[in-house]
Subunit: 393 residues, 2 copies
């Protein structure tokens, strides 16, 4: 049986991963830039109720183009009252034929498990509604950290006097790589952030859901809460609607492309290594924070790994060290880098940043977590054992 | 034998405590606003070499007024080369009669131990030069946190719609009191911060010494490093020379005195309680961080307590809970507040701040430390047991 075409609107952090998964499984996937015409299934993942309303019911909106008896799935984290208003509006405009699924708290992963003959709500949510919600949330822990992390690395590189484009290419090719850094890079370099393709308010909304949940669970998220405070500072400065790539200005107050590196190749290589060390080790601690929180929430860690690896929360550190943490293979390989090794690399970078008067919100938070690991007697264990700082479940 | 008059310049964070101690012990103490004339002993504690140079050798400077054979003690954290230049300049201007003591790394406490017949350097530094340096440094851990903490509390109060003056009076009368909040209050309220009576660059310099030492010791200082990053952000925004009371603008972007509270007395009291809870519990964790670091550095903790209690690093939490930590009386009293109690109070305040889009750099850092204590199984222990997160020595 051929797979039905599925339409999408809102290919943000989660939507991208969801669409990627569907493509891999053989579903034809179409974004909002194509018509909703002929799509038997349509998934709306935009960030806010206002965006959903515009996409669904605005001029040339999705609903008007959907075929008879189409299924419309709303996964945006919108208020329940808005989801109810969608159902009412479908009735009032004569599109009661559309099957509306209020899937606000479902993670992308679970949408794939539906079989045509089965009811959505019974089969989509292994572990209960909370499981899907938690899966999405712990993915966003990484997204929220890595968005700021990309800016922190590029700002630090500028403070070090590095050519921004070359530094970015080196990051992309290294163990410091993150999906978010690569994704935001062009906008960051070109300062193309008015209006924001992905406004600071969007990631801040997701991070707020995460930190509220962490507080309810009394679970520490030092990097994610650090990132949250810097996003809040940006909003306080009036930048809520500006693209999140503009966070680089919290680390360097001129365009990073204005930096011209005139040093010797050796000096440049040494400076670049500090950026790579800082970003790689910070992303390692970010992976530990996200995996520890996911484990605490009893999220299926194998699904979590599969989802994140293909989505916006991914990083080289998550794919390698995060997997070690998930599979309990911490320190399996002889000679793998230790906590002490990670401390040495990050400490040197943080000290240099301090000498340059460059803030490193995430780098310092990560270093404190590693110091806690050292204080707990883990200094000779594999660097991925930093997850133990977050406690056992 | 009557005690000799001692002159002072640079009554900043440490100088104030030092002068207070001397007054208590019966020494007549005179500040820079009075003449150095007739002072057999003069202590220079200004922050920088440029300030020392101006105070000592500028027009109507201290050196020109000192009597014959006076003793000049330099405790500022200036480069060794500058201290050497002071000795050379005294010779070159014909004041070789002045006994110059290069006491750059001595803490205030130790100056008091000198007897007239004895050599300074042999008797002033129990534990070696490093001990004095460490004493001063761990004092500044608290000063560095509390300066930002006063702004964080006042900014949060403004975000909550509280009358700034009334909120400040309530803080001063409560267990959330800190010396720094009270000291900075008038400048903070009146936005009297150009030029800075105590510039952001001054506290940032001290905090930089602290965090560099913490990295060398591989010791976590989550609150102090959080404060450092926000100070660095202020410098990046061009505010290095502005008074540190201006940090309140990182939490509320209008004058806090512009807030007019029109709510019911009950609502106002509820909002005020959130500020008091946030500041008190944050200061508790700050005390734990400072005492733990002092213990790690093998600083004499009883001297540390005496020094801080009378100086700029003091807070009600340090004087009560800090003393419990120092004396190992954690959880001695039945029914004393637990880690869980502290979490509950701070968590509620942090959530409210988040709802208001108010950053709380220190409040969030403190909450993460408390969550780590909970994860370590300490939730039912006394709140002062939060110091255990920093590891045993």
């Amino acid at each position: 049986m051929s797979k039905p075409a599925i339409g999408f609107v809102g290919l943000g952090a989660m939507g991208f991963g969801m669409a990627t998964q569907l493509v891999k499984q053989g579903y034809p996937v179409h974004g909002f830039d194509e018509s909703a015409s002929g799509k038997q299934y349509y998934v709306c993942m935009v960030a806010t109720a206002a965006q959903a309303q515009s996409a669904l019911f605005g001029e040339a909106g999705i609903v008007s183009a959907l075929p008879n008896n189409a299924t419309l799935i709303l996964t945006s984290t919108v208020p329940a009252s808005y989801a109810q208003s969608v159902a009412a509006e479908l009735q009032s405009i004569g599109r009661g034929d559309i099957l509306f699924i209020d899937a606000r708290s479902l993670a992308a992963q679970f949408v794939l498990h539906r079989e045509p003959s089965q009811s959505w709500l019974l089969y989509l949510v292994p572990g209960g509604v909370g499981a899907g919600s938690n899966m999405k949330m712990v993915h966003q822990v990484l997204a929220g950290i890595h968005i700021l992390g990309g800016s922190e690395a590029m700002g630090f590189a500028a403070q070090l006097g590095l050519d921004a484009t070359k530094a970015a290419e080196a990051i992309k090719a290294s163990d410091a790589w993150s999906w978010m850094h690569e994704n935001r890079l062009q906008r960051l370099l070109e300062e193309d952030w008015h209006p924001g393709a992905s406004a600071i308010s969007i990631i801040l909304k997701d991070v707020g859901i995460i930190t509220s949940s962490a507080r309810q669970n009394q679970f520490p998220l030092p990097l994610c809460t650090s990132a949250e405070q810097v996003y809040l500072s940006a909003v306080l400065q009036g930048n809520a609607t500006v693209d999140d790539a503009s966070m680089v200005r919290h680390y360097y107050n001129k365009p990073v492309l204005s930096v011209s590196d005139t040093r010797s190749a050796t000096e440049t290589a040494e400076a670049l290594q500090l950026v790579l060390d800082m970003m790689e080790v910070t992303n390692l601690v970010a992976a530990a924070e996200a995996v520890a929180f996911a484990r605490h929430l009893k999220v299926d860690l194998k699904q979590f790994f599969t989802l994140v690896s293909d989505a916006a929360g991914s990083s080289r550190q998550f794919v390698t060290k995060g997997l070690e943490m998930i599979e309990g293979r911490i320190g399996e390989k002889a000679g793998s880098p230790t906590i002490s090794d990670a401390i040495a690399r990050l400490e040197k970078a943080v000290q240099k940043a301090r000498d340059l008067h460059c803030p490193l919100y995430l780098g310092n938070s990560a270093l404190n977590v590693l110091f806690l690991a050292k204080r707990a007697g883990l200094e000779k264990e594999s660097s991925s054992s930093v997850i133990k700082v977050f406690g056992s479940n």
